[in-house]
Amino acid sequence: MSGFTISRRQMLASSALLLASTAMPTFGWAQTPKKGGRLVLAADSEPRNLNPAIVASNGVFFISSKIVETLAEASFDGKDGLAPRLALSWEGAADGLSATFKLRDGVKWHDGKPFTSADVAFSALQVWKPLQNLGRTVFKDLAAVDTPDDLTAVFKFAKPTPFQLIRNALPALSSVVPKHIYEVGKIEDNPANNAPIGTGPFKFGEYKAGQYYRLTKNTDYWGKDEPYLDEIIYQVLPDRTSAASALEAEEIQLAAFSAVPLADLDRISKVPGLKVISKGYEGLTYQLVVEINHRRKELADLKVRQAIAHAIDKDFVVKTVFLGYAATATGPVPKNDPQFYTADVPTYAFDVAKANALLDEAGYRRGADGNRFSLKLLPAPYFNETKQFGDYLRQALAAIGIDAQLVNNDSAAHIKAVYTDHAFDLAVGPPVFRGDPAISTTILVQSGIPDGVPFSNQGGYKNDALDALIAKASETLDTAARTDLYKEFQKQVAADLPLINVAEWSFISVARDTVGNIANNPRWAVSNWADTYLAG
């Protein structure tokens, strides 16, 4: 039947929207990196704009971070969790009004022109601040970038800006693009957005829509002996189930960003020559969150929100929905964050009896059909896990007499329904923690955000004390004091429950064991792979 053909194809296409991928398993293996070779890996999405300075998202970084480099990269053991890339050192002034970056000498763009502080000034002022999705917030007070010499860039801020925030933003937000390419014409329409030119270890080779991206070795790279690989091929495999088969058939050597479904990992980990690696994503933590529409009178009642928090069995969610590849959450900062996380917050143990008692206390008694009230529940469609958690949450709410009706939407309709039309009571969302609460976390609970801003507080929640705390933290320059304010922030969010944090998860890589130096930094999948190699 023709209807059936269409449906299968549609299914393949829709499943393609979900994740991305690559990874590898040989870590801590005392092998000498070998030069040469072609790494083939699975890519599940095909971003059109590959300029990471404009679109700071993991889907773009996955490919373009090998071509366009940032000032610094995340690191497991570096000072402040950073390793130098284009910048060698960085320092913030005590008054928070300036930050000085010393740049690396002898770096060349892929077209042979030298990299200088003018490129950094141009990227910061012309691209990150006005055009970048995340940079608009972090660099909003950036007034000028002075370039006293070719290797020094001094960021000047109109208002005191905590250097801790700028530092934490470096790995994701500071992709430097060449001024001489971008200064002509409109930046958004520059052809280099689709064929990026950078300073990275790999040059953009070619892109065949629906087939592959090819990156080739930059023989002029600043890193000694790097890169090791000759070529990287991103094989477009939109169907999530095909990545596992492609790995087994040795068509690809790496599938990152959980391209292999969680349910297949147990089986695939037993295949000889393949390794499952859950490290290398510490800097890309996704949070499973129940978003709440506080315009609904029942949900405006703290007791009801507490009851919902008590009704959710977080351990079950981690064990069953995430098959153990996640951690339970206590608040808005994930447990794996080394700077800000505090466990000292109110917690909500799984306790159905207590949840029922809280709802009775709040005055919502069960009706004749056993239900107290009905809610509309919108699970975000981006991940299998958010959808499955939606199914679970419906059951968890049924146990406390709340009848939740699931509403499924595609990505565009979901974003419109939740963040523009506010046509939800509860929603399941996967916000990302990006190393500093001020980048994309406080916006989830802060009031006064215009309608239509995705992944922000669109639930009508307003808490003056919390708003004041967020405002104070954003202008506190002292790192220790600022960190304490964000610990207080976690306490207040966990106490007042503007949203409910359920779990934190990241991605899994599966790789052939010939791939070396895998997962050696907290953003490995979206780092430059200069030291990645293929053995044997």
């Binding site: 209807g3 269409i6 199914d391 059951q395 049924a398």
Partner: protein, 276 residues
């Protein structure tokens, strides 16, 4: 020979009827056998079939009882199939009768509208309609009916064109019956049998379309559906294939049953009409 006896002499028709009866029995008995929500979490996740006799067909990724979901899925499939077919036949026969009986401009307009609907593939229409309006059981029924009413409309019109020239219609005109009354009291009932003959195909197609919509995540998420079960099992196809296979088999048997039984009825009645 009575129609029933003729029907019973066709083994494929009997097989179809048995499958259909089983499906109806499943649908009707679901609330008795599995009281409560079929989507409730009943046991450990991904339990294979035939391991635990309280969960004979095992559990899915959240630990929901596959057998209970299968029974409730039968309800959804049958309800959507019958409702969509009934809606399609009702719309189709009314439009066809009006067009055929009125003739002239009304006929032209109605038939061009029918053409317009026929040029869009039914599944695509359903897909577009559900994605715009949002998935729920009623919407899915309407969406399927939107793509299937044109067949009955054309058949009804053809039939009405011949019936309206008959003597009893002329007689009804002479005694002064309102034209609409003639159309719906005298003409439509006589035009119906060939239209109803299409019902089995429409029901089977509607069940498949519903399953396909659910598979794409456009079914009603608050109900157990076979298409939804297959889609959910797809993520664990390599580790727990039964999650897709079990509802898949149910779907095949149902469509086969509806089709065989429907064909059997059509053939039996056609013989009778031919003889009479």
């Amino acid at each position: 020979m009575s129609p029933l006896r003729r029907f019973l002499r066709k083994p494929e028709a009997v097989a179809g009827a048995i499958l259909l009866a089983a499906l109806v029995a499943m649908a009707l008995s679901a609330p008795m056998l599995f009281p409560g929500d079929p989507q409730a979490i009943a046991g450990p996740a991904l339990l294979p079939p035939f391991q635990d006799w309280s969960l004979p067909l095992g559990t899915d990724r959240l630990g929901r009882d596959v057998l209970a979901e299968l029974f409730y899925g039968a309800r959804t499939s049958l309800a959507v199939g019958l409702a969509a077919a009934a809606a399609a036949l009702a719309i189709g026969s009314v439009v066809g009768t009006l067009a055929g009986f009125a003739g002239g401009l009304v006929d032209e307009v109605l038939m061009r509208i029918t053409d317009a609907f026929q040029t869009v593939p039914g599944f695509l229409l359903a897909l577009a309609f559900v994605s715009v309006v949002g998935p729920s059981l009623g919407i899915v029924v309407i969406a399927i009916a939107l793509g299937t009413w044109t067949g009955p409309a054309r058949v009804a019109r053809a039939e009405v064109l011949s019936i309206r020239e008959r003597d009893y219609v002329a007689g009804a005109r002479v005694i002064g019956m309102h034209p609409l009354a003639i159309a719906f009291r005298e003409v439509l009932p006589n035009a119906l049998p060939p239209v109803l003959a299409m019902s089995s195909v429409i029901v089977a197609a509607a069940i498949l379309t519903e399953a396909a919509l659910s598979f794409l995540g456009l079914g009603d998420p608050n109900r157990a559906t076979w298409g939804g079960m297959i889609a959910e099992g797809r993520a664990v196809l390599r580790t727990a294939p039964f999650l897709s296979i079990v509802p898949g088999i149910a779907l095949v048997l149902t469509v086969l049953g509806v089709y065989l039984a429907g064909e059997g009825i059509v053939e039996t009645t056609a013989v009778r009409r031919g003889l009479s």
